[in-house]
Amino acid sequence: MILQGKNALVTGASRGIGRAIAIELARQGANVAVNYAGSEARAEAVVQEIEQMGLKSFKVQADVANESDVKEMVKAVTSKFGSLDILVNNAGVTKDNLLMRMKEAEFDQVINTNLKGVFVCTKAVTRQMMKQKSGKIINVASVVGVTGNPGQANYAAAKAGVIGLTKTTAKELASRNIYVNAVAPGFISTDMTDQLTEEQRAGMLAMIPLAKLGTPQEVANVVRFLASDDASYITGQTIHIDGGMVM
């Protein structure tokens, strides 16, 4: 139980990788606030699963790119839990299209949620973490932010942005004992990847040395490590969880 007594907020935690992260942090002893955008019932299911482990949890609806929503959310977490030790910026959306066909709105929406959302949430928790003189922020980026990916100009740009934001925030806040790292998942089996065609799937598998998809749990395992004091000399890094796809 390496996160005993810690309080965490996970954005986009109602499903997929975010859900696995929320549950894994709880399994290690953390109380977890479950942020969601639309899937209230699924968020509630995550809350119940965490409560069954004897830990505190609650769901909180907020658009991560909306500063006033996020301020309210962070206030709710600190008033219910008393502190905020771990923020996992996981919320993300995709709106894939070839650059030539991508609409401005599709670009903006993905940048807003996936990049601006990380900025807004990070800024909102920083005050609390500076007061505590401790904190762990883990951003969920993506290998496509490093490699690029046809059809994902918006998503790849946002995720590359998250990596730059991670490094900058790590440098700004290191003196206050706040750690900021990113994970870059590769091909992980979730609702998002289920939308890919068989052809896309086969093409991606051919590029993965471990020749299999990752699981949300495999991402959650690394986030749990970065959220713990075991990672006490690691900040500003992006850890790839991709079966060796990008080296």
């Binding site: 500076m130 007061k131 700004e172 806040l173 206050r176």
Partner: protein, 77 residues
């Protein structure tokens, strides 16, 4: 005014670990009190707590001396 100055001064002495005598109304946070930009942000946060008020980012950016902070707090209290 003096009471506000004394409270601000106590906070600064504690937070920036500087000698009392250096904290005058004219003292600049960055130049005279050797605060870096993050120290100033933190100091503003502590002033907000101490005086139970919110200082907007645009206002906070204008506060460069101890006197600026005291005057600002005085003007909104």
């Amino acid at each position: 005014m003096d009471e506000i100055f004394d409270r601000v001064k106590a906070l600064i002495v504690d937070h920036l670990d500087v000698e009392q005598e250096k904290v005058t109304m004219e003292a600049s946070f960055k130049d005279d009190l050797e605060a870096d930009s993050l120290d100033v942000v933190e100091l503003i946060m502590e002033l907000e707590d101490e005086f139970d008020m919110e200082i907007a980012d645009e206002e906070a950016e204008k506060l460069s001396t101890v006197g600026d902070a005291v005057d600002y707090i005085n003007s909104v209290q």
